[in-house]
Subunit: 340 residues, 2 copies
DNA sequence: AGACGCATCCAAAACGTTTTGGCCTTCCAG
DNA sequence: CTGGAAGGCCAAAACGTTTTGGATGCGTCT
């Protein structure tokens, strides 16, 4: 049976009011009794009941994040960095992070958001993998729930968050490949309802245009952001009679799948086919050969998103409500040493 | 202002008691009114306040996990799988996962466990990266808090959990290397207070013995489970005048650091120096060359640990309270193609 | 007719805090 | 001596549920 504020009050011959206020450091309790209270609380190992406090204060001291588990099980290592970032920043502020997983755009997802927010389980949310039309953004703004998000949906609502210049990133990537002499550059994307697809594909097209390369529709195929999806798409591209000499994955995981497909086909990444991705996950660095990619500081982004969120929750006015970052092009062996 | 049970009762001309019991499916409310209540609840978007419910029920419907952030920021990708597993399994049971991060064996860690458990923020915890003498195990059993853990500390307490035969794994790994002709096999470990160090190091020693190889103290160095630590330790080993021909990392991340050190030294992994790790993280598969490792199904382990934990919380008697798994030796290029 | 069982419903207590609106003293200025 | 301010404390309400222990009415059995 845990010790309550009432036990403490009885022990000290004080009212629970005074104990509560003493612990919260109010001015209307004398310094000497405050000391007594604090000491006793420490000795008896008193911790205020989280539930009771939340009920009164109407604050959960927690933020939420729901990670999109697309496939049956395993998810992008990208989310590992993201969750770490959320977690570390929240911990620094004595705030808890509660996470759950759910396939996006499903009934379950809606139910889960409703459950969390209608029951005031968290004070705010961080969103990720934004959709072009994102019902979550509408839902949260309509219900006046604080949130921040990575990416910008194509909606009237203006939400605080961080946006990365993915379009520009992909454009520069295509130019890099064009400079290497590639003229048939493929792109493996994802569902068009995701902003990352919108932006990165647009960047791909812009890059082609800027480099004066023709757009070849057959070289655009849609994946599912997973490694296996990338492999499948890669195989399809490699089987074409007039296939690509370079393949861009919408993310690193897809690109790694392509690498595997290339190997399966008995060819060599870098020498026979150039491959590049986006994200800058650790795996890309250790890949064989190392993967050219656009690095985006996921961990720091997550930290900043939670810092911003906590600001919003506390009613502060943020210095900047929308931050733009540039991804960094990391050229590695997978797009060099071309042998043809 | 969210809708409460009282609003619902008023609207329906019922007492809050009846509404509550109707929603919980008690037998003492007629089917017709139950329907009325359920419909109204749905229409008005009623969700019971999480805090109020938790306060009454004395149940948080949440489990906790604190991830050990050793270095300033980034952590082992291993934990990504682990958290995914916890999360998915918890979600399946409509239970939330609350996570935080904290450097192990610090004041902060103790404070954090106390804060969570004395304030009944979670119903139980999953532990990881067990210590040989693990105060958390003592703390949790003493306070009768449900928990499960991966690994077995060397303590009197008997806690439900999963244990992997790391010792046997490392022994077989050493034998594999010995069979390849290696006679000077190094081992890069970690703090001796971790059970993984205890077990894996013991396995290393057993392997040497079994293979009839001499134990050479200089070939054992202590790392910190990070890639950079592995690289440092690797460099140290490579500088030795009579250095090892094979290096074992206590985990994959360490081994990857060694790979980097080997490259830095202008030598080739596999050909000049064999390298192997433990965990079977994704990176090891994509490494250059692919890394020999002992695979352990972290994701599934995490799922089973939470399933077990939920069983304990619900007062069930577990079919088996301690599960033992065998790691799988995955031999890849990093320990083959020896050229000397 | 009385006792009893059954089906529905409910008032009030409880959970452990925080906050509101005071109540006593004491002290000082007028 | 009095009025008022200030310092230190507290009783009670409130937060939104769940649970306890009936209450009511109706039919059935003795």
């Amino acid at each position: 049976m845990p010790v309550t504020i009432r036990d403490l009050a009885k022990k000290l011959n004080l009212s629970i009011t005074t104990v509560s206020r003493a612990l919260d450091g109010y001015k209307d309790v004398s310094e000497s009794t405050r000391q007594r209270v604090v000491n006793a609380a420490y000795e008896m190992g008193y911790q205020p009941s989280y539930a009771a406090r939340q009920l009164r204060r109407k604050r959960a001291d927690a933020i939420g994040y729901i990670l999109p588990t697309s496939s049956p099980r395993f998810s992008d290592p990208l989310f590992s960095s993201f969750v770490s970032g959320l977690c570390d920043e929240a911990s620094d502020h004595q705030i808890d992070l509660v996470v759950s997983s759910c396939p996006p755009e499903t009934q379950d997802e809606q139910a889960m958001y409703h459950r969390w927010l209608d029951s005031r389980r968290v004070d705010g949310m961080v969103l990720n993998r934004t959709r072009v039309y994102d019902w979550r953004v509408e839902f949260l703004t309509r219900n006046k729930i604080p949130f921040t998000l990575l990416g910008k949906p194509d909606m009237i609502y203006d939400a605080p968050g961080i946006v990365v210049n993915e379009r520009g990133g992909f454009e520069s990537l295509v130019r890099h490949l064009a400079a290497q002499g590639h003229r048939r550059i493929a792109y493996i994307g994802a569902s068009p309802y995701l902003t990352i697809q919108l932006e990165r594909y647009a960047g791909y097209r812009q890059g082609l245009e800027a480099a004066g390369l023709p757009f070849i529709p057959e070289l655009v195929v849609v994946g599912d952001l997973t490694e296996e999806g990338g492999r499948q798409a890669g195989l399809k591209l490699l089987e074409m009679e007039n296939g690509p000499t370079a393949v861009l994955g919408i993310n690193d995981v897809t690109a790694l799948g392509v690498c595997r497909a290339v190997q399966d086909a008995g060819r060599m990444v870098g020498r026979d086919v150039a491959v590049a991705g986006y994200d800058g996950i650790k795996e890309s660095e250790f890949a064989n050969p190392p993967l050219t990619t656009l690095f985006q500081p996921t961990y720091e982004i997550a930290r900043r998103l939670t810092a911003m969120l906590l600001g919003v929750i506390n009613g502060e006015t943020l210095p900047e409500t929308r931050i733009t970052l540039q991804p960094e092009l990391m050229i590695r062996a997978s797009t060099q040493n071309r042998a043809f």
